[in-house]
Amino acid sequence: MKQQVTITVNGTTHTNEVEPRLLLVHYLRDVLDLTGTHVGCDTSQCGACTIEMNGSAVKSCTVLAVQADGAEITTIEGLAKGGELHPIQEGFWEMHGLQCGFCTPGMIMTSVNLLKNNPHPTEAEIRHGLEGNLCRCTGYQNIVKAIQYAADKMSAEPAAAGDD
């Protein structure tokens, strides 16, 4: 019944036997104990579970662990490198882009991907880019500012972008 998967998460390769129906988010949280990725809904609306898989932002509640076999995944835990915050993490901190923090990991992972695809977004493009992520606390105003902060910083020091 169980199937073997090999998945690289934050640079470490894991091989596990999983049930075919196990969701990727539960694999990350319950098998690998990476609890930074959150579950906020059952229907792929809220984006709290967003991770980066093979270079794309993916809602890990909508992917089975077996579908991620062979994939390269980055979660919120793997974003800061060598103790250095990613500019987007820094932006969220500087601009007060979070309150309760529950949506934040998914929001940050989506933002990483947003800036990768569009390094100089307008405010409208940022707001549109966040359509798949819900935040109940901030009213989004400071999240937008956080991403603008990161965009400015990343374009000023392209080496610090950190998405290797």
């Binding site: 049930e19 129906r21 196990l22 949280r29 319950d30 104990d33 990476l34 609890t35 930074g36 990725t37 959150h38 579950v39 906020g40 809904c41 059952d42 229907t43 609306q45 809220c46 709290a48 979660t75 919120i76 835990e77 974003l79 800061a80 915050l85 993490q89 969220f92 901190w93 500087e94 007060h96 979070l98 309150q99 309760c100 923090g101 529950f102 949506c103 934040t104 990991p105 940050i108 405010e123 409208a124 940022i126 707001r127 549109h128 880019g129 966040l130 359509e131 992520n133 819900l134 935040c135 109940r136 606390c137 901030t138 009213g139 989004y140 105003q141 400071n142 999240i143 937008v144």
Partner: protein, 785 residues
């Protein structure tokens, strides 16, 4: 960082480094050896008798450890308590079992709890339980439920009316007789689903031997959970530890006792295994409390000049299928005492009916009663202006309580406003929006046939509910003081224990700023601790925008006790009398001789080694304080919303939003702005996006985030904020409160703007939600006429 003033510094939040790196610790992140997962089977029917529950097939499924039905729990746990029972309201509290015993009364009522090795197994087994129901007639709407012949939820609650509450002041009938203008209006405040991003849940672990229950749960008030859990389970409070560190949003929906927390606790005790229960979102939508759901009939008496002289309100509040923990207080006290808003209305009478229906229970939701009241009075101001052909700002100014009238007692005498200067916030808002130019722009837009509107909300809110004696008089089953401990360690680092329990409001930072202001200790040397009933003295939690005004004040008083003791010890070490020293920037020095000084660290060490203490001074530097304010505090402000409605889509677009708030003294402006932003978005969302919809059978049609419209990043524009400062005179730092202000203010502001935009079509009132579909319908019906 050493600051001399605790106010005005936007330091970055100390909570954030954990939260932005995925190192937060929410309830679902708790993992214990041997932990089982619990799933609750919930009723698919809104009203039915349970004929039979067959768990045999489910019990035989892999991984299943135990299954409990309502009958199995009767001896283990008492009914879910209702802890706010307003006096003089003839309240009838029906029995609400954590799992239904004979009858289910709403879609989502718990029927059985399955405990299994993991969640997948628990849910599989729950689905395999065979329940036979005998369905009963259903009633969903409060006005239907009150009618003769309506389906009855409980024999003990005739006509489903759980309570009738009345509050009045002045002579309302006389006011209506002398008035130039009287009119009636029905206002509907629709049902909302709170949608904290983290659903409710708990991990309960009962230890054999110590007989101690450790309960991790996502609550706004861990001490209330411990108190009520003890009463419901007969586990002594000394043996219950409630832990609640990171909370993924609350918005009022994490105040009430949750049946799931109680069930997990007693099953853990029964099985001696840790139990985790986390709602999924669909479950959250039916099992966690909803908000609002009022129908308000208002009658207004006004004079020609716009003065409102009388207000009669009859409110019908849908309480759902049972009375949740704080629910009856919301439409009664919290609603009625703010009904007059910022206005001096001498004659007011309110009647509130709390009605039971076959729906999920309602309880506090961000603002709790005050948004309903503010929506009502702010719509009334606009209606008066419209009917008398006056400017809405003029009518408001005509009715404002003058700034020299504080403390101001409302007509019923039930409550007194602390301080305010309502003209000042309105002046500033008009200046920011450039009101004259805006009305010209509107004239131009109208000439072009566009629907362009301007709306105001000059709101007040009551927060820091107090004193505890008043809470008792209102039937609130607890106190409303707050506790703080300031514990200086021998190395000079400081731990603060606080009875509040934030869910993202930033007290981990602002309380450190407050303490820094009092003791001069660098912020980075201060640890703020909440959410652990074993460490923290009794406190009442975070809701009602009370944390900083009440909890922050408790902290300040505890800090001042520490400071006084440090001055005694410092003076002794400096070999002078305490009267001869000053406490300055964290150190104690001799007056006029700053070089004769003992540092914070030196005094802390001296206090703990206790080798050389002054006469009569005990060792240690560890002080606690319970602060019970003498009165409430009333933040206020003026919000202006500019909308343009697209006739083709019916969408009301917010063009500008200006908010000038007065929340008293401000510790961290960045955090206060963040509270206002989020609050405004939530209030706007009620007006134009959100609504919980039931069909006539009691099925929740808006049962997922696909169907319930939570605002997205693109829903609203940036808000333009400013502030005035009118300190509260009843607490040492002049603090008011900010958590709910934005939500309370913004709903009426945008609705007034939408009605203003639609007024060329002859519209005087429009109910929420002003969704594109409903506006489009109205616009096209008008065209058809």
């Amino acid at each position: 960082m050493v600051a001399s003033s605790p106010f005005g510094s936007s330091i970055k939040r100390r909570e954030d480094p954990r939260l932005i790196t995925g190192a937060g610790h929410y309830t679902d992140d708790v993992r214990l050896p041997g932990m089982l997962s619990m799933a609750i089977l919930r009723s698919p029917h809104a009203h039915a008798r349970i004929v039979n529950i067959d768990t045999s097939a489910a019990k035989a499924m892999p991984g299943v450890v135990a299954i409990y039905t309502g009958a199995d729990l009767v001896d283990l746990v008492a009914p879910v308590p209702c802890a706010w029972q307003p006096k003089n309201s003839d309240i009838k509290v029906p029995e609400y079992r954590p799992l239904a015993v004979d009858t289910v009364r709403y879609v989502g009522d718990g029927v059985a709890a399955v405990v299994a090795e993991n969640r997948y197994m628990a849910e599989d087994a729950a689905a395999a339980i065979n329940v036979q129901y005998d369905t009963l007639p259903v009633v969903v709407h409060q006005l239907d439920a009150m009618k003769d012949g309506a389906p009855q939820l409980y024999d003990s609650v005739p006509n489903n009316v759980a309570f009738h509450f009345h509050l009045e002041g002045g002579d309302v009938d006389a006011a209506f007789q002398k008035a130039d203008l009287t009119f009636k209006q029905r206002l509907v405040n629709q049902r909302l689903i709170p949608n904290a991003m983290e659903t409710r849940g708990a991990v309960a672990s009962y230890q054999r031997g110590s007989n101690e229950l450790t309960l991790w749960c996502t609550t706004q008030n861990p001490h209330i959970v411990r108190f009520l859990m003890s009463l419901c389970t007969n586990i002594p409070e000394t043996q219950i530890r409630v832990l609640s560190q990171d909370i993924g949003g609350g918005f009022g929906s994490k105040i009430a006792m949750q049946a799931g927390e109680m069930i997990a606790s007693v099953i853990s005790k029964d099985l001696l295994r840790p139990i985790k229960w986390m709602e999924d979102r669909s479950e959250n939508y039916v099992s966690t409390t909803h908000g609002r759901d009022h129908v308000d009939d208002v009658e207004v008496a006004a004079m020609k000049d716009g003065r409102v002289v009388g207000l009669k309100v009859t409110a019908y509040a849908n309480m759902g299928a049972y009375l949740s923990t704080a629910a009856p207080g919301v439409p009664t006290w919290l609603f009625t005492v703010t009904q007059s808003g910022a206005y001096d209305i001498p004659n007011v009478a309110s009647d509130v009916y709390g009605v039971l229906t076959n729906t999920t229970a309602t309880d506090a939701y961000r603002g709790a009663g005050r948004p309903e009241a503010t929506y009502l009075i702010e719509r009334v101001m606009d209606l008066v202006a419209k009917k008398l052909n006056l400017d809405p700002t003029e009518v408001r100014r005509k009715n404002f309580i003058p700034s020299d009238a504080f403390p101001y007692s409302i007509a019923s005498g039930a409550i007194a406003y602390d301080s305010g200067d309502y003209d000042k916030t309105l002046d500033r808002a008009l200046e920011m929006i450039d009101y004259a130019a805006l009305r010209k722009e509107q004239e131009q837009a109208r000439a072009e046939g566009r629907l362009f509107g301007v709306g105001f909300s000059t709101y007040i809110e009551v927060c820091g509910l107090a004193p505890s004696a008043a809470a008792g008089a209102m039937g609130f089953g607890g106190g409303l003081y707050e506790s703080a401990v300031v514990r200086v360690h021998p190395t000079g680092k400081v731990t603060v224990l606080t009875g509040i329990n934030p869910q993202g409001q930033g007290e981990g930072t602002t309380f450190a700023q407050l303490l820094n202001g009092e003791l001069g200790v660098p912020v980075e040397d201060i640890e703020i601790v909440w959410g652990d009933t074993d460490r923290i003295p009794m406190g009442w939690g975070t809701y009602g925008s009370r944390s900083t005004a009440v909890g922050g004040s408790a902290l300040v008083f505890a800090a001042r006790k520490v400071r006084d003791k440090m001055m005694k010890i410092g003076a002794h070490l400096l070999e002078v009398s305490p009267e001869e020293v000053v406490f300055d920037q964290g150190s104690v020095h001799v007056k006029g001789a700053p070089d004769q000084v003992k540092s914070f660290g030196e005094i802390a060490l001296a206090a703990y080694t206790a080798w050389n203490m002054p006469e009569g001074v005990t060792p240690g530097l560890d002080e606690s304080y319970f602060f019970d304010p003498v009165s409430n505090t009333f933040p206020f402000g003026a919000h202006v919303c500019v909308v343009e409605i697209d006739k083709d889509s019916g969408k009301a677009d917010v063009r500008r939003y200006v908010a000038v708030d007065d929340v008293g003294n401000v510790i961290n402006p960045m955090i206060v702005d963040g509270q206002i932003h989020g609050g405004i978005a939530q209030g706007l969302a009620q007006a134009v996006l959100e609504t919980a919809v039931y069909d006539d059978n009691g099925q929740l049609l808006s049962g997922t985030m696909m169907d319930y419209a939570i605002p997205k990043a693109s829903s609203f524009p940036n808000y333009e904020l400013d502030r005035t400062v009118t300190p509260c005179p009843f607490n040492p730092m002049g603090l008011k409160g900010v958590g709910e202000a934005g939500t309370i203010a913004s709903t009426p502001a945008i609705m007034n703007a939408i009605v203003d935009a639609l007024s060329p079509l002859g519209v005087e009132h429009f109910d929420m939600p002003a969704s594109p579909q409903r506006i489009w319908q109205l616009v096209h019906e008008q065209k058809g006429n």
